[in-house]
């Protein structure tokens, strides 16, 4: 235990001493994660929201989520590396593949679950489809949509570490290169990745607060988290719980 404590001390020292290296790698890490997240958002949000709006494709949404959970990130990055080549974009595309399932599925579930009464009332007031989506469904679905984005953000920032094995750069470069940076470097970079993931999660949370209409600002964190980890599978079985033995 004592030995391990010194390692953590050395790791913190490494972060301070090598702050230029750490900052440089952190920047690469952020660029990579940011690019992947942006692309994943552009692809999956419109699809998820539209499917949810039409209440279609639940089969697709559920299966994308299940498949996404089963995809080993290492294998996806390895496939990207082998087929696209070394570098930033091969890893970024692999990360996009990994980020799509949580965003798409949560967007679908969120919009699909908006109360029909609200949507019908809006339609009765003469709103167009576009107005219903932007003024009714999106604001109400925001907490769940953001839950998906937060899951994807933490996941992408964490997984971008593996990018190093495919030449994508980032803090993973230090983590997989113990020969050059020593154990204190490895542990130091690992600490940085953890902090970065937490900070990114918090930043997306703040963005969510800023985007949530004042009337909807209620404590909903626990509710969100439930859906991200187990919601899709949990819900059907929950309804079964109601069915008691006869």
């Amino acid at each position: 235990m004592i030995a391990s404590l010194t390692v953590f001390g050395d790791a913190l020292e490494f972060i301070v001493d090598e702050r230029r290296l750490i900052l440089h790698k952190t920047w690469e890490h952020l660029l990579l994660s940011g690019a992947a997240l942006a692309i994943a958002l552009v692809i999956s949000l419109p699809i998820g929201v539209w499917l949810g709006h039409r209440h279609r494709g639940s089969f697709l949404a559920v299966n994308v989520a299940n498949l996404g959970r089963a995809l080993p990130s290492l294998a996806v990055i390895a496939v990207g590396f082998v087929f696209i080549g070394v570098g930033f974009w091969s890893v970024a595309i692999a990360l996009v593949v990994l980020a799509i399932p949580p965003i798409l599925t949560n967007a679908y579930v969120a919009v699909d679950a908006v109360q029909t009464e609200a949507v019908e009332a809006a339609r009765g007031m003469g709103m167009t489809d576009r107005q219903i989506i932007t003024r009714i469904e999106l604001p109400l679905a925001l907490p769940l949509i953001f839950a998906g984005i937060r899951t994807a953000t933490v996941f992408v920032v964490a997984t971008a570490t593996i990018a190093a094995v495919a030449g994508g750069g980032g803090l993973g470069d230090i983590i997989v290169n113990q020969a050059a940076y020593g154990l204190e470097g490895v542990v130091g970079a690992a600490i940085c990745v953890s902090v970065l993931a937490l900070v990114a999660d918090g930043a997306v949370g703040l963005l969510q607060r800023a985007l949530t209409p004042a009337g909807l600002r209620v404590e909903s964190r626990s509710f969100e988290a439930d859906v991200t980890t187990s919601g899709l599978r949990f819900r059907p079985s929950m309804s079964k719980v109601d069915g008691l033995p006869d």
Binding site: S194, S237, V241
Partner: protein, 244 residues
């Protein structure tokens, strides 16, 4: 010390020398059935078995811990928040980082891998088990008390059986994500399906990456299907309801 001593990317694609490499292997084509045949029993099968063992052990330990914690906090709600907070923090630590953070404590051993994998199952399992226990309708609990069941009997005969669907839902998520995560374990120990992937990365050998990756995905899907079957077997009342 790690299987990745030197940066892989710097080397560029090198054609692997597998001794009796066929044309397909030498040219590194998309998929070489002969390589799979030659290396199944030597490389892929052991990796698959190790992967299953790593996953089973992690989920089993995670389940016991979560189950105990859920039973405890089911009665003592005071402890629920700290347990969830702990599990949530562990859940947020990136897997690769957690493996590395544990190395100074537990070394390059199976223990490092298992501690990390167990850590990731806790949040999912604990929350689902507790949610299952909590989801028992109050009138059912009242009926149980009216029938003269003790608290212990209520727990074992009413609450736990009714918590099975939620528990199994959590177990499915935990097993599938642990199988996916266990590939990263190869960074610490040369075991599991991640190891052939790491090795193949060095040489950009397509077949090995594709086959090992596909095996991991396939394993996850098979495990998921098995758990669905197990859930149906454990909840006969749902089955009959579905038929009628």
């Amino acid at each position: 010390m790690t299987p990745l001593g030197e940066p892989v990317a710097a080397q560029g694609p090198v054609i692997p020398d597998f001794g009796k490499g066929s044309d397909c292997v030498v040219e590194n084509r998309l998929f070489c059935p002969d390589w799979v045949r030659d290396n199944w029993s030597g490389t892929l099968e052991p990796a698959l078995v190790e992967h299953v063992k790593l996953t089973l052990l992690a989920v089993a330990i995670g389940f016991v811990l979560s189950f105990g914690a859920a039973l405890l906090t089911h009665r003592l709600r005071l402890f629920e928040k700290p347990v969830v907070a702990f599990a949530a923090i562990v859940y947020t630590i990136p897997s690769l980082a957690l493996f590395q953070l544990l190395v100074p404590v537990t070394g390059l051993t199976v223990a490092t891998v298992e501690v990390a994998l167990v850590g990731y199952t806790l949040l999912i399992l604990y929350r689902n088990i507790l949610e299952g226990l909590r989801s028992v309708p109050p009138d059912v609990l009242e009926a149980a008390r009216g029938m003269g069941l003790t608290r212990r009997q209520t727990l074992w005969r009413i609450e736990l059986p009714l918590a099975v669907p939620a528990t199994m839902a959590g177990l499915r998520v935990a097993v599938v994500s642990t199988i996916a995560l266990a590939t990263v374990a190869a960074l610490v120990i040369p075991q599991g399906l991640g190891y052939p992937i790491f090795l193949a990365l060095r040489e950009a050998f397509k077949t090995e990456i594709l086959v090992a990756g596909a095996l991991a995905v396939g394993l996850a899907l098979v495990a998921d299907a098995l758990l669905v079957v197990a859930e149906r077997a454990l909840t006969p009342w749902n089955r009959t309801r579905r038929v009628t």
